[in-house]
């Protein structure tokens, strides 16, 4: 704790640093809360500004945006049912229903505390275990990566326990959607039908905005439901200590999932929240409440996505390898000033490394304070008449879909996925396995093909390498336990209906 306290003190003593972290966090929260704008966009836009600043000041601004961007995603997810960023996709599943049941303050309260716990905990891990964890990462080969991703993919079975075949079909659809564009390794163009913008694959943001925002606007307008009664009374943080204690194990598990996923190159908060959510559902005593406003789901998603921040910073600082797209930009921010992250950074620039720890901690505190104060204001969004709110959301969704690639083609992708989302709602196909398949599918394929190339086509190393074998065993156990739990639930339901 001494290192963190020292780092904290170092930044607090410099008012200019504090101002920069505050501005960065505020910008990040706005970017996170606006659907379509992500922490990556915010950091990318602010990167040129850091040319004029010294490395510490530059990092203060950029890290503030990063922490704010990941933390702010839950605001739109909770109030509007639209994930502000991919890091908050799973937050939508339960925070929005809870908000619609008239409890937006509780949902936001969980988001605020969970984000803070996730960020602060991951910073502590970053300080104390970064070198150890980084060494483990170096030993992972494509075999372990494939097994790990496969393990994560098996969570689809958990996400769709009520309708297993529909859930699996949704997952396979997601995997197929993820194969559109340039294939890994050989760069073959797949399923693009001659459309150049599809070469880079389907834009994740356009897909998310289609299935969550545009579809929801259309369905709510068609159903013409009355606006729910909203409880705007805020006492304390909107939740009690008992709520945190009840979710202690869920928080710890989600935290380590987020930390680990964030730390693996190429993954990050966007994957972490879905996996932690699926694990929370799998381990819950009341999985049937998930998707209907279960607090456990919000805790899992928001703790894990923020834990991924510290997780992604571990390989960036210790090895110079970015864990996700934002840390790749942060790495660029350091390299602009001639600093090369890696083991030598700790020896040559200890002051800078300490400053980064301090900045992260202060950004977490600033986000907590801003969100806490905002909790009195944010839920008022729900009292705006829908005929004003929804048209504005529609425009923001279009802006978000366009902003990432500047392709008008992405408008059509967004509309197409609004239609896909609608068809999936009508046919009772769950949405979350499709998103998980879409995000994880390309990673599984790339690592699997690389692994098979290394092993001259042999599948044996997957079970002879210890880490890979353990991960595959977990995957098999996860599938079997899902089947057993599903059967037990069916028997219970059968007994209950017989008694009735």
């Amino acid at each position: 704790m001494l290192v963190l306290a020292e780092a904290f003190k170092m930044v607090v003593q410099q008012p200019i640093m504090m101002i920069l972290v505050f501005i960065g966090s505020l910008i990040g929260l706005v970017f996170g809360a606006i659907p379509g704008l992500t922490a990556t966009t915010g950091v990318a836009l602010a990167l040129p500004l850091t040319f004029a600043l010294n490395p510490e000041m530059g990092m203060a601004l950029l890290i503030g945006i990063y922490v704010g961007g990941i933390s702010g995603g839950f605001i739109a997810a909770t109030l509007l049912g639209i994930p502000g960023t991919p890091a908050s996709i799973a937050t939508c599943f339960d925070a929005y229903p809870l908000s619609q049941q008239g409890q937006p303050v509780k949902a936001l309260g969980i988001g605020v505390i969970a984000s803070f716990i996730g960020t602060l905990g991951s910073i502590i891990c970053l300080i104390y275990i970064a070198p150890v964890v980084a060494n483990i990462a170096l030993k992972l080969s494509p075999f372990e990566y494939t097994s790990l991703m496969f393990c994560a993919l098996t969570l689809i079975a958990t996400l769709a326990r009520e309708e297993p075949f529909r859930g699996l079909a949704s997952g396979f659809l997601g995997i197929l959607l993820g194969t559109i564009g340039i294939a890994p390794i050989g760069s073959t163009l797949r399923f693009t039908f001659g459309m150049v913008p599809l070469s880079a694959g389907i834009n994740l943001l356009a897909l998310i905005l289609g299935v969550f925002a545009i579809k929801q606007i259309c369905v709510d307008h068609a159903e013409d439901k009355p606006i729910p009664q909203v409880d705007l009374k805020v006492t304390g943080l909107g939740i009690g200590i008992g709520e945190i204690v009840d979710n202690a194990w869920n928080i710890i598990r989600s935290f380590f999932i987020g930390l680990w996923i964030g730390f693996l190159p190429g993954m990050g908060a966007g994957v972490a929240n879905l996996i932690a959510y699926a694990q929370a559902k799998s381990s819950s005593k009341h999985p049937e409440k998930f998707g209907k406003g279960a607090a456990e789901g919000i805790w899992a998603s928001e703790v894990s996505n923020n834990a991924a921040i510290g997780g992604a910073m571990i390989p960036m600082l210790s090895l110079g390898i970015p864990g996700d797209s934002v840390t790749a930009l942060l790495l660029g921010g350091l390299m602009i000033h001639g600093l090369i992250p890696g083991p030598l950074l700790y020896i040559k620039q200890p002051k800078l490394v300490n400053s980064i720890f301090g900045i992260l901690a202060i950004a977490a505190v600033i986000c907590l304070v801003i969100c806490y104060l905002g909790m009195r204001l944010f839920p008022r969004v729900l009292t705006i008449p829908r005929y004003y709110l929804y048209p504005v959301l529609m425009v923001l969704s279009y802006v978000g879909a366009f902003a990432s690639n500047n392709y008008s083609f992405d408008f059509w992708i967004m509309l197409l996925f609004a239609l896909v989302g609608l068809i999936m709602d009508i046919t009772k196909m769950p949405m979350s396995p499709m998103i998980l398949g879409f995000i994880l599918g390309p990673m599984v394929e790339e690592n699997l093909r690389r692994a098979l190339t290394y092993s001259s086509g042999s599948w044996l190393p997957f079970i002879t390498r210890p880490v890979s074998a353990v991960l595959l065993s977990i995957a098999v156990f996860s599938i079997i336990s899902s089947i057993i739990k599903m059967r037990r639930n069916r028997v219970l339901q059968g007994n209950q209906s017989a008694l009735a």
């Binding site: 995997i175 259309c218 005929y387 408008f411």
Partner: protein
């Protein structure tokens, strides 16, 4: 045809279509690499199997997704979205957005939305979004082709 049969058949057909298309993908260039057709083929096969299982599942009684009036409202929303998309592509953000906002607010808010308030809100939202994104955040917005 009941909903399960329709869903299952469509999913299986998508899987079959992907399998056929995957056959035409190029062969692997690196030795021992399963190639670009391997992974989509596995996912397509999985989709076909799931589709067949859904197809034979007994149909539970379900409520209609929307009322006929709901479908009519959904239809108008679809027309509006397609119109707004074409408007953004051809006339740009500053022209298409206030028109789309005006029509959407009037359509969603009948009879509560007032003519003058709707005009003011449509113009104000357009210029605020334009200023914040294009000027402050330096995010490019569609400028149209004309």
């Amino acid at each position: 045809m009941n909903r399960n049969r329709l869903t299952g058949s469509v999913l299986a057909l998508i899987g079959i279509a992907v399998l056929i298309m995957a056959k035409d993908l190029s062969a692997p260039v690196i030795e021992h690499d399963p190639g670009p057709r391997f992974f989509p083929s596995i996912a397509a096969a999985g989709l076909i199997i799931c589709g067949l299982f859904i197809l034979v599942q007994p149909q539970k009684r379900t409520e209609p997704f929307l009322t006929p009036e709901g479908w009519r409202r959904m239809g108008w929303m679809a027309v509006l979205l397609i119109g707004y998309t074409l408007g953004l592509i051809y006339s740009g953000f500053l022209i298409a957005t206030p028109i789309a906002l005006y029509i959407t607010i009037r359509m969603m808010g009948q009879p509560k939305s007032k003519y003058l308030t709707t005009v003011v809100v449509s113009l104000a939202v357009t210029f605020i979004v334009y200023y914040v994104f294009q000027e402050l955040l330096m995010v490019i917005l569609p400028s149209g082709v004309w």
